[in-house]
């Protein structure tokens, strides 16, 4: 099948999804223990979108993410340890503790970066694609964004320019059915947001966001087009978040039936089932154990790392200031 991932690639996606799941579970536990600071947005249940979409990318390709970016970060190749260290504000974090979990970047890996202004990642990726077109590079930019973000004006402006100029950018709409607490039906009058791609003469495809292989293939087709200079495309991946909007979420707006139904379609389980005939359950279980151990070790190490020391940043120091 065109652009299907290889078994190895699928196994790697499986592994990364487990890393993300263990990360989210660990954060949930530490939050309950009062050990986290600030809001944290978990993506349990929707790992396949971020992991599979980014599996298609090369290091030189750029990715912009959201406030709910853990799967995107791990997908784009970041180690879990500096991610955890950043989430806990440590000097060893990906951004030395300055960014926090919503804003993580790793420029070498092409992740630039998380963004907590909803919608802002969309023009951000589009601008990177503009840069690549001007420079004649063969890299592509990808933006992963939410169903809530699709209602922002900046989404419209960016998609219009991307399509108008045939920029090498791929838009991955992670449709998890909710904005912050409101269902998508309270945010837009259309259930399938990808219908809007026609308004930009841009191809679009809806995929099962809990099926890593389906996401990979659909995204890979769009990335291929973009890389060939044929312009942008939109993938709408339907998924669901099992947990609250963030650790501060008091819940109550997701029905137990919906959660149960979506949990029955756990993306990790779907990949497991697909892979077990190929590589055997034992190998997959071993991967799970190793991934779990990696995350546990990362938590242990990160949590004992030092906090950063404050210094006036030189780029800002030239100005009048109060320090």
């Amino acid at each position: 099948m065109k652009n299907a991932p290889s078994i190895e690639e699928h196994v790697e996606m499986y592994r990364k999804m487990i890393v993300v799941r263990r990360l989210e579970e660990g954060l949930g536990r530490l939050h309950k223990e009062g050990k986290t600071r600030g809001p944290i947005h978990r993506c349990d249940g929707q790992e396949a979108v971020g992991v599979a979409a980014t599996a298609v990318l090369r290091d030189g390709d750029k990715l912009t993410s959201t406030h709910r970016g853990h799967a995107h970060y791990i997908g784009k190749g970041l180690d879990v340890y500096p991610v955890i260290a950043e989430i806990f504000g440590r000097a060893t974090g990906s951004c030395a503790g300055r960014a926090g979990h919503m804003l993580i970047a790793d420029a070498e890996k092409g992740l630039i970066g998380g963004n907590a202004i909803v919608g802002a990642g969309i023009p951000a990726a589009t601008g990177m694609a503009l840069s690549m077109q001007v420079l004649g590079r063969k890299d592509v930019a990808m933006c992963i964004f939410g169903d809530g973000a699709a209602q922002t004006g900046i989404c419209h402006e960016a998609m219009n320019m991307a399509a108008l100029w045939k920029l090498p950018v791929v838009f991955v709409l992670e449709h998890n059915q909710f904005g912050l607490t409101v269902p998508s039906s309270v945010q837009s009058p259309v259930a399938d947001l990808s219908i809007r791609a026609a308004g930009y003469n841009m191809p679009a495809e809806i995929v099962d966001g809990n099926d890593a292989v389906a996401v990979y293939r659909a995204v890979a087709n769009m990335v291929d087009r973009a890389r060939q200079g044929l312009g942008p495309g939109l993938i709408e991946a339907k998924t669901y978040r099992w947990e609250g909007f963030s650790t501060s979420d008091m819940g109550g707006y997701q029905t137990p039936e919906d959660i149960a139904a979506w949990k029955a379609r756990d993306p990790i389980r779907i990949s497991y089932d697909a892979l077990k005939n190929e590589v055997g359950a034992a190998a997959l279980d071993e991967i799970e154990r190793e991934a779990g151990a990696e995350v546990a070790a990362a938590f242990a190490k990160a949590l004992s790392d030092p906090f950063p020391a404050f210094a006036v940043p030189s780029a800002y120091a030239a100005y009048s200031g109060a320090l």
Binding site: R37, G38, P39, G89, R90, G93, G97, R98, A99, G100, M102, L103, N115, A116, I117, V118, G119, G148, A149, Q151, T152, G153, G179, L180, T181, V182, V186, Q187, S188, S248, M250, G252, Y253, F307, P308, A309, F310, V312, P313, Y316, Y319, S320, G321, A322, L323
Partner: protein
């Protein structure tokens, strides 16, 4: 009087004004069924229905523009913008629309809307969720900007804001929602916009502060007492119009001033305070006004970094010591 949290006081103000005036309606992200991420609008959708308490898409730019024109055509909208950091998205509607029409259209329209938002740091929310952009908002003519600190003011000023015939930007602070205080329960209770409040009297220096910084200034004043310095603490409450008379009266007695605002320093709200004091009180001043503000840089995430940049009682005390030395 009842003991209430700041968020509850706001909720009471909204409820009372909605009961009294059917043209008052609320809209904003997650304010309806969920009651708002800071729970200010809790229970209001149940009481007033979905037409008057409306959950919205993430569309701050258009929503603010809509508040302006809804207000022109018979309603009194109260718009919640979840974080002050998103207010840049509202600025075209404030600067190019709300600011101009009363004058430009020769008095043909009024725009009685309220834009509620909350800013400030200290919660580990990072560079895009911790800002105070007071100065940008207070720069816009034709718009009032207020920032109550006590639960009583929160209620009384929100009621005044809703009844005002001009646009009012109503600045809350994420670390104030859970603070408690006595609040009048009388539906007629309001607090006028445009008046500062002396929170502590003093002889040696006047500390003018906004929003949560008033609480830090009061702590600083306690510490300064031990240093043998008597500090007056004035809660400005109304950033625009500014109560210049109260400022001048205080400085006439203390001859020293420190201004405190949680926004950036350069072109910040504290700069206006400093300049206004220069305009009005030059001859009364024994020392230059000191500004205590956020340094000119993003708010970092990690706790020790965030604490290093946020203005606080310690930094206010240091500034006072420099000024009165």
């Amino acid at each position: 009087m009842a003991m209430m949290r700041y968020a509850e006081a706001l909720n009471a103000a909204l409820r009372e004004e909605m009961q009294a005036d059917a043209s008052v309606f609320l809209f904003g992200e997650d304010i309806g069924r969920y009651g708002g991420v800071f729970k200010v609008t809790k229970g209001l959708m149940e009481e007033f229905g979905e037409l008057r308490v409306r959950d919205t898409p993430i569309s701050e730019q258009a929503m603010t523009a809509m508040a302006v024109t809804a207000a022109m055509t018979g309603t009194r909208p109260v718009l919640e913008i979840m974080y002050a950091d998103f207010v840049p998205l509202s600025l075209d509607a404030l600067i190019n629309q709300a600011s101009i029409y009363e004058y430009i259209w020769n008095g043909q329209v009024r725009m009685p809307f309220v834009l509620r938002t909350q800013g400030g740091g200290g919660a580990g929310a990072g560079a895009q969720h911790s800002k105070s952009l007071d100065s940008m908002l207070a720069h816009v003519p034709g718009i009032k900007v207020v920032a109550p600190v006590t639960p009583a003011d929160a209620k009384g000023m929100l009621k005044s804001a809703i009844r005002d015939s001009q646009p009012v930007v109503f600045l809350e602070h994420k670390l104030l929602y859970n603070t408690r205080g006595e609040v009048p329960e009388d539906a007629d209770f309001t607090v006028p916009l445009g008046k500062a409040a002396t929170r502590r009297e003093g002889r040696d220096v006047s500390i003018f502060a906004t929003s949560r910084m008033v609480l830090e200034a009061l702590k600083a004043a306690d510490a300064l007492e031990k240093d043998g310095i008597s500090a007056e603490v004035i809660d400005l409450r109304s950033l625009r119009p500014l109560d210049v008379e109260s400022i001048a009266t205080s400085i006439a007695r203390t001859n020293h001033a420190v201004v405190v605002n949680e926004g950036w320093n350069f072109c910040g709200y504290a700069a206006e305070l400093s300049a206004t004091i220069m305009d009005r009180c030059f001859d009364d001043l024994d020392a230059p006004v000191a500004r205590v503000t956020l340094p000119d840089m993003p708010v970092p995430y990690s706790e020790p970094l965030e604490m290093a940049v946020l203005p606080d009682a310690g930094k206010i005390r240091d500034a006072v010591l420099r000024v009165v030395k």
